[in-house]
């Protein structure tokens, strides 16, 4: 089976830092980063009022559906998407082929500014994810679950 994504403390700090800076530089309300399978990786800005789990899952669904559409017309994927709302808008960008960078912004920012800042942040993030992939591929990188016992698993279901 394909191996899953593993996030370590060090890379998480770098990724959060990039997202925080993007939020400021792009005048965004919220920035979040989602695995293409729908798992939330990081969120920054006014994310506490948002249901980020649902946002992550729907983002992945949307990117997957648009990817399906892209293939039907002979494109590999749509790396950037923009959805314009009455007050708030949403920009999605695929980073390193694996994760989706989402920016939510209102009239205090503009699509041009967001695109510009996303491009730079996206390049930085892609490098971090490359680094993560290498780290994960290193022999000896073990699942933290390798040491759990069958009893640990049973206990989870005993209540």
């Amino acid at each position: 089976m394909n191996s899953g994504l593993v996030m370590y403390e060090e890379e998480y700090r770098i990724i959060s830092g990039i997202c925080d800076r993007l939020t400021r530089d792009a005048n965004a309300k919220v920035v979040f980063l989602v695995d293409k399978n729908g798992q939330l990786i990081a969120a920054s800005g006014q994310a506490q009022n948002l249901d980020t789990t649902s946002l992550a899952s729907l983002t992945a669904g949307n990117v997957a559906a648009m990817g399906g559409l892209a293939k039907l017309i002979g494109e590999k994927e749509f790396p950037n998407q923009f959805h314009e709302g009455e007050r708030e808008s949403l920009h999605m960008s695929i980073v390193g082929g694996r994760v989706v960078l989402v920016v939510i912004f209102d009239a205090k920012s503009s699509l041009g500014l967001v695109r510009l800042r996303v491009k730079k942040a996206g390049e930085e993030l892609a490098r971090v994810f490359d680094q993560l992939a290498k780290k994960q591929a290193t022999p000896g990188a073990q699942s933290p679950f390798a040491e759990i016992t069958d009893d640990d698993i049973d206990n989870l279901f005993s209540q």
Binding site: Y12, S54, L58, A64, S143, I153
Partner: protein, 196 residues
């Protein structure tokens, strides 16, 4: 494809409920949602048509508790069962960690069940997975209806490999949590082996 986050000490897994149209996949999730403590669940999302047939997917995030200091979270998804939504079904299988096949026990739905298992096998194959290797359980749903096949017959047709199987009546919850627990256990065991 699981997501292990050392920073927030979380582990996230994806479970997909598969099966023919109207077999009760969404009903399984609705029951789990209704019977789970508010602190253990997120919002349930249903992308459905006006007649409440699943159009893209249903989604329900669940927390199961901690294992060795890691919060275990399961993301439950259903696929749209109707044959012509195949493109959507493929998308939802991406990154799956475990599969529940919900079979409709009614005799007249046997062909639909078989077609759906074959479709699952094909679609998993396209994602580079095999039904033989992915954590997999089978649920025989609608056991309360009059015109149903015997469990032996269902097993012969749908579950020749004898993976864990459960009889269920999803609207009243019979078998629903047993099915979920079984697949969640298999997913965690697989992670332990380092295959996730």
């Amino acid at each position: 494809m699981s997501f292990i986050n050392y920073s927030s000490r979380e582990i996230n897994c994806k479970i997909v409920y598969y099966g023919p149209g109207l077999c009760g996949k969404t009903t399984n999730l609705q029951y789990v949602y209704a019977k789970t403590n508010p602190e253990a669940k997120g919002k349930m999302i249903s992308l459905a048509t006006e007649t409440e047939r699943t159009l893209f997917f249903d989604f329900l995030p669940l927390s199961l508790g901690e294992i060795r200091g890691f919060k275990t979270r399961f993301h439950l998804y259903t696929v749209p069962g109707q044959v012509f939504y195949d493109a959507s079904r493929k998308l939802i299988l991406k990154g799956v960690d475990g599969v529940v096949f919900v079979a409709d026990s009614q005799i007249e739905r046997m062909e639909a069940n078989l077609e759906s298992v074959e479709n699952l096998r094909t679609n998993l194959g396209e994602q580079g997975y095999s039904l033989e290797r992915v954590p997999y359980v089978v649920q025989y749903n609608k056991r309360d209806l009059p015109n149903i096949a015997t469990v032996d017959e269902l097993r012969r047709l749908i579950n020749p490999r004898n993976v864990p199987e459960f009889q269920a009546v999803a609207p009243t919850g019979v078998g629903v949590f047993d099915t979920l627990k079984s697949v969640a256990k298999l997913v965690l065991t697989e992670l332990k082996k380092g295959g996730g």
